[in-house]
Amino acid sequence: MATTTETPTDSMGRATALAPPSLSSRAKARMVSALLIMPLVLFLTLVFVLPLGGMLVHAVENGEVGEALPGVAAEMRGWTGEGLPPESAYAALARDLKAAYGDPRLGEASRRLNYERAGYRALLAKTARSIRAIDRPRAGWTAELTAIDPRWSETATWAALRRASPSLTPYYLLTALDLRMDDNGSIARAPAEERIYIDTLGRTLWIGFVTTLLCLVLGFPLAHALVSLPRGFASVLMVCVLLPFWTSLLVRTSAWIVVLQKEGVLNGLLTRLGIVDAPLELVFNRFGLYVAMVHILLPFMILPILSVMKGISPSYMRASASLGAHPAVGFLKVYLPMTLPGVGAGCLMTFIIGVGYYITPSLVGGARDQMTSYFIAYYANTTINWGLSSALGAILLACIMLLYATVGRLIGVGRIAGIQ
């Protein structure tokens, strides 16, 4: 089984190992290590890069109308968008609708057009049904189509078709930012009662921020306790920190409902002790959400801080004390700066995981506590509007990348990752 290249190494033993590696063996070693990380690269490509790329593509992809109504799409490219399109556009629409009748792609094109204005789905379906009966227009297709539905004589209808027909669209990304492209092609804010996503995004980031802050305030002293306490006690404490890690997210979240609800454990205790008269509203609101999220995310804050603190020798603090620094000054000037990479990594991790939360807000939050992922899941699962779902995801991703870049610039990505 042994190959010829291996045999000399075996027989020469230590002599080879001590000799400086030749160029070819170094190249071979490099190849071996490249092969060894191949599974990882493949894995990352398959489960990370491709889906993420797919999501970003979905956010701008717009093939529906062009595929179902190719003639109309071509006509729309040539139309200026002013007044009404020429008779040839009406004829193309009639032709395309006849050809596409019964084709599922027409259904998808209708859905896409309906995003531009509610009601256009039915308009397209109705027109496709009626147009089949007309072989030859009596006074041109413009008249026939307008007779089927007067909306075909409105510029707005055609402007919507024009916006919906190119193969790429800013529609989803604009919608995810509460913006609209109006009939003249200029971008404006959506009407006040339809602005949703910016508010939701702001709320998402705020909830992420507060959760991170609370985790830091609780996690930092706890991590310090874990490194300074006697071994036995520290390991018990460590198990307590890690316990939620080993429990299902759903169980942890539901447990909080049991504890915090109106007839729950905590309210029962408080009323029995006479601290409150009526049970407090502790869950299905922001308070309950923070409690559950902090509980779940705390290990993500503690573990990176802990790993950094473990590497800080106690002699630094002793040195600062021997040089006359007050413990508070020593902590602020000596200890705290050395823990910053851990704090940065912990905050970043907690925040990034926190803003993506979906199950916890939907279970323990109220109507005012739903985050962007609620809408992402709603559009992906319920209405199958994958474009808008992807666009919301892309915007959330952009926010996180922005934050990552900022923190990376302040603390240094290498330090956060523990490479440097």
């Binding site: 789905r121 039915a122 379906a125 005012r368 319920t382």
Partner: protein, 351 residues
């Protein structure tokens, strides 16, 4: 033929592996996977449709359940790995799914005469399975002189306390308009205009502080029983089930919002022929007539409605007296406006 032959061999092998008596069974056992909405509803469906069909036709029937999310069906159809054969779907999912090619077209000649069914039961891609409705209900044990309709539901001076409404725009906006005095037959005409949508939200605004939202059908019943809400919108079948369980919930048929659920076959289903036979079976009057005794939902075959025990019939949304008070859900309206209105509704709730 090849496929058939391999299946026979496969079945024979499987039968052989199981046990010797299993060999007595026909080796050509047909398979069928039926998907419902779970819970007490699926229990009723199992008793009335699934088991009798499987026994009568020697079909090996597998059940699954889902929460009405079309994304899974879409993924199955797109990837060509359709593991479901018959699916219970809501109206507007059926309509848009049909247009987008998610469902097989139904051959109605195999189902029966269209005129035997209520109008809403007919669809190109589905056959009406049962009729359910959203009704107003309250606990007689707690509220003696209870509200009579949606207008009373909004009257918080006379009946103070929280009200339960389902956390969707669909049906809730209709109810808000009914409460605001819009006649039953004009609800969708009003709702189709921007002013009508404003009116519906304005109506909801007035009740907003007193609303407790629910998402699963069991919640309103539990909350009424615990006294967390004084009245609630609820599925009529759940109310009837609670009353059978010893509760005394009153319900108002006036302004009930009617919905129909359908049987549909996902595009590319592996056992399409069996699926069609199942739907035909589940549409027979004598089969459907047994359904209301298991759960208080109406059925779609007119002959079945006539055959239902008169004592039960009065508690069904489809009984003539109740039916005239109903607002049938306008599927086409929700297919067009659903997404925009649901988003606005979610936004309104979060303010």
């Amino acid at each position: 033929m090849m496929l058939h032959a391999t299946r026979i061999v496969g079945c024979a092998l499987a039968a052989g592996l199981l046990s010797v008596p299993a060999l007595a069974q026909s080796p050509q056992t047909e398979q069928l996977t039926v998907v419902g909405a779970g819970g007490v509803l699926q229990d009723a469906e199992r008793a009335v449709f699934f088991r009798p069909f499987a026994n009568a036709n020697k079909v090996q029937l597998t059940e699954d359940s889902y929460s009405g999310q079309m994304a899974k069906v879409r993924a199955m159809v797109d990837t060509g790995s359709v593991s479901w054969d018959v699916l219970q779907v809501e109206q507007n999912s059926l309509l848009s799914g049909c247009e987008e090619g998610l469902f097989e077209k139904i051959d109605w000649t195999g189902i029966g005469d269209r005129r035997d069914f209520i109008d809403e039961a007919y669809s190109e891609c589905g056959v009406g399975a049962f009729v359910w409705s959203m009704v107003m209900t309250y606990d007689r044990a707690r509220t003696a002189d209870g509200p009579k309709g949606w207008a009373d539901f909004w009257n918080v001076q006379r009946w103070p306390g929280k009200r339960g409404l389902r956390q969707t725009a669909k049906m809730t906006l209709e109810i808000a308009l009914l409460a605001d005095g819009v006649p039953r037959e004009e609800v969708y005409k009003v709702l189709a205009t921007p002013a009508g949508v404003e009116r519906a939200f304005a109506s909801l605004d007035r009740l907003k502080p007193d609303i407790l939202w629910w998402t699963s059908g069991a919640e309103p019943i539990e909350r009424l029983a615990s006294g967390d809400v004084v009245m609630s919108a609820a599925f009529n079948g759940r109310v009837a089930a609670a009353n059978q369980g010893g509760r005394s919930f009153a319900l108002a048929w006036d302004g009930q919002v009617l919905g129909v659920d359908y049987w549909a076959i996902p595009k590319g289903a592996k056992n399409r022929a069996t699926a069609e036979r199942f739907i035909a079976f589940a549409s027979r009057p004598e089969v459907q007539a047994r359904f209301p005794s298991h759960i208080a939902y109406g059925v779609t075959n007119r002959k079945a409605n006539l055959a239902v025990d008169p004592k039960l019939a009065a508690d069904l949304p489809t009984s003539p007296a109740n039916f005239t008070l109903a607002v049938p859900l306008d599927t086409a309206f929700w297919a067009d406006h659903g997404e925009a209105l649901e988003a606005r509704f979610a936004n309104w709730r979060s303010r």
